[in-house]
Amino acid sequence: MSLCPARTSAFSMTELDALYAGPSAVCPNPSPPDSDRNQDQYKLLSNAAQTRIVNDLKARGIIPAPPAMNAQSIDEVIGQYRDKLNALGESMKAEYCFYYSRYAYAIQQWINAIADRGSSQTDSISAYGSRSIALNRRLIDLTTIISAITKELYDTASKTSDSINSLNAQLDEQFGKLKKQAEVLQREAPEAEIKKRMVEFTKEKTKANDNLLSLYFFLDVVALGILFYVYKAA
């Protein structure tokens, strides 16, 4: 499936020269000069220029700032951040399709003009040729900037891994504590049962001794009675 919808109508020269006017345009207007590009045959944007453009987009709020990893505010804030990222993605796609449709038309007209070359086509070749080159440069800059934004997102994600790792460490610690408490319970539960039985045993023993004490007290009284009777008997 193609990325951008096909356009059947023609573009005028003014439309070919138009710049994307969306609110979240990422491609800088005008195009960055040669000093911001690598000095090779490809003339891609230099790393410094990419960084500067991405920082500028962040300062303008086009690249949304990632929310803090805060458990209290996580649900709503994540939803808003996700929506902003999706909106940015749609905007960049729209911007890409804007320039791509113009580029596809310009390159077709250019090649047709070259193929049908006559003296009347020289102006067309020149006009469409320069626009094709400019639009191609625009598309390449746009893809370079989108790649830089993607890299920025990955860098942000790697920074949040510290918060996640600290949570993982806390979870491990909590798991260790749970395990330790489970071991204590496992170890002391049978001991508790034994001690309960021991207490019951000693209670029974004491009760038995109490019975014996009562018995011998009674026997002592009886013996004293017998002694007194024998002494008093005539």
Binding site: C4, I74, L85, Y103, S147, T150, L167, N168, V199, Y231
Partner: protein
């Protein structure tokens, strides 16, 4: 022939072949068709390359946003797990603490019950002594009544029985109150000994002594050396004076 000239020759040959091919197609009338086909292929390949490039970078961006979302969800899940895990941990800590407390209580109750049981048995022993003594006295009183034993013997028996009973009661009471361990019935309690106070050595003096040993050794060696030198000097001087005296004696 150099490599560049080979390439130049090859390029020239290709140009000639292409030109010939084009000329042949023009003669055959197939040139227009060929140009149209080639043009369409070129445009399609260029557009396809651009679309692929655009799709790739936008897909990469989408994956990056998915990673961001996954990270936040991962953080949220871990936070929830941490919060949820707190409850059973606290419950288990309470249970473990309660179990430990119950165990200690049961242990102490067991000791108390054992002590009480032992105390009851001790009392039972005293009651038995009293019972046996009173029974024996009753028998001998009967015999005294019947005239088989004298009054003195009976009195002695009563006296001895009373002494034994009192001694047993006093001994048992004193032992239980003062000597027996108040926690364990079967153990004896010992007083805490207050032995002589051992004065710890004066560490700075000792440390000075230890650290001063090399210095002291040196001083002692020097003193010995001085003494040896003085002794040798004295000996030599005496020897010299002795020889002088001998020489003078010989001269005279």
């Amino acid at each position: 022939m150099s490599t560049d000239s080979y390439f130049n020759n090859a390029r020239e040959a290709i140009d000639i072949a292409v030109a010939k091919n084009i000329e042949d197609m023009r003669r055959d009338g197939t040139l227009a068709n060929y140009v149209a086909t080639s043009r369409d292929q070129l445009i399609n390949s260029i557009n396809s390359a651009q679309q692929s490039n655009g799709s790739k970078v936008l897909d990469d961006y989408k994956r990056a946003t998915d990673v961001q979302r996954a990270n936040y969800n991962y953080f949220k899940r871990n936070s929830d797990l941490l919060r949820v895990g707190d409850l059973p941990l606290k419950a288990m800590q309470r249970d473990a603490e309660a179990l430990r407390h119950d165990n200690q209580n049961a242990q102490r109750q067991y000791e108390i019950n054992q002590w009480t049981s032992g105390n009851r048995l001790d009392t039972l022993f005293v009651y038995q002594i009293i019972f046996v003594s009173v029974l024996v006295l009753a028998i001998f009183t009967g015999m005294w009544r019947a005239g088989f034993v004298g009054t003195g013997f009976l009195s002695l028996l009563v006296f001895l029985s009373l002494i034994v009973i009192v001694l047993v009661i006093v001994n048992r009471a004193q032992y239980t109150a003062f000597t027996r361990d108040q926690r364990y019935w079967n153990k004896r309690g010992f007083q805490k000994f207050t032995g002589p106070v051992i004065t710890p050595p004066d560490c700075p003096v000792i440390s000075d002594t230890i650290t001063g040993l090399p210095g002291r050794a040196t001083e002692t060696a020097q003193q010995l050396g001085d003494q040896a030198r003085d002794t040798a000097g004295n000996l030599l001087s005496r020897l010299g004076s002795g020889l002088n005296a001998a020489g003078n004696a010989v001269r005279t």
